[in-house]
């Protein structure tokens, strides 16, 4: 989710964003994850729209989530149309066609691919080096650097 927020902050002036909240992936009454207990994210699968909207609002508050937001109806129409559950990213181009179809989460969920699509069109957004990237570059005499 942090990745998506960073992409939003980098490209919100060029592209529109919409988060669609779909049925819960790991509610307490289904396949709950231990990490959800640790993070105190414990909800039963919503049975009414009111419950679903309430969880969506909790989510927004907890993470100060900045993306525009919509909640899927209880008939899961958006989820079914986009085969989205548990998580998936699409990019729709200006003509209303699917330009990028991300893989199904959690294993095929790669926000960096959406970033790459946006970067290809609008240019990459440079960030300050992360701690890992500031480590000193390998010396010129290392085999990797002299392989040429």
């Amino acid at each position: 989710m942090g990745d998506v927020v960073r992409i939003y902050n980098d490209y919100k002036n060029q592209a529109d964003f919409l988060t669609v909240y779909v049925r819960e992936a790991h509610p307490t009454d289904e396949w709950q994850m231990k990490s959800n207990v640790k993070d105190d994210v414990c909800y039963a699968q919503p049975k009414t729209l009111e419950q679903r909207v309430a969880i969506a609002n909790d989510f927004i508050k907890r993470f100060q989530y900045p993306l525009p937001f919509g909640v899927d109806d209880m008939n899961n129409a958006a989820n079914d149309a986009y085969a989205a559950w548990p998580e998936r990213i699409y990019i729709i181009d200006e003509s209303g066609h699917v330009a990028y179809r991300g893989g199904l989460g959690p294993f095929q969920y790669h926000p960096e691919q959406a970033r790459a699509w946006l970067a290809a069109r609008y240019g990459a957004v440079k960030h300050e080096a992360s701690p890992a990237a500031i480590s000193p570059p390998p010396a010129a005499s290392t085999p990797a650097a002299t392989a040429m």
Binding site: V22, W31, I55, G70, V71, A83, P86, E87, I92, R101
Partner: protein, 88 residues
């Protein structure tokens, strides 16, 4: 019970135990295998959309819980990045 049938039943039993064992290892625990099979796989679909497909519309509810809008209202002027997900 003939010898062939004993062998067959034995082999199937061993395969079943091995499959459960491998799945438990991959998913982390037998409990996760149950969760995956019972709650996740039935809802995970590849879908039919491809790059170039017309983006389907759907009615969505705003965070106030009462007002509605259509997904396709948000397309047309700029690319739309659609992020599907849930809290848990």
């Amino acid at each position: 019970m003939s010898r062939t049938w004993k062998w067959l039943a034995g082999t199937l039993g061993v395969l079943l135990v091995a499959a459960i064992g491998i799945l438990s290892y991959v998913a982390g625990s037998p409990r996760n295998v149950y969760g995956l099979v019972r709650y996740a796989l039935p809802h995970m679909h590849r879908g039919t959309l491809k790059a170039g497909s017309d983006a389907p519309d759907a009615q969505l509810i705003a965070l106030d819980g009462t007002s509605h809008f259509h997904l396709r209202e948000r397309t047309g002027t700029r690319p739309l990045v659609l992020v599907f997900g849930s809290f848990t």
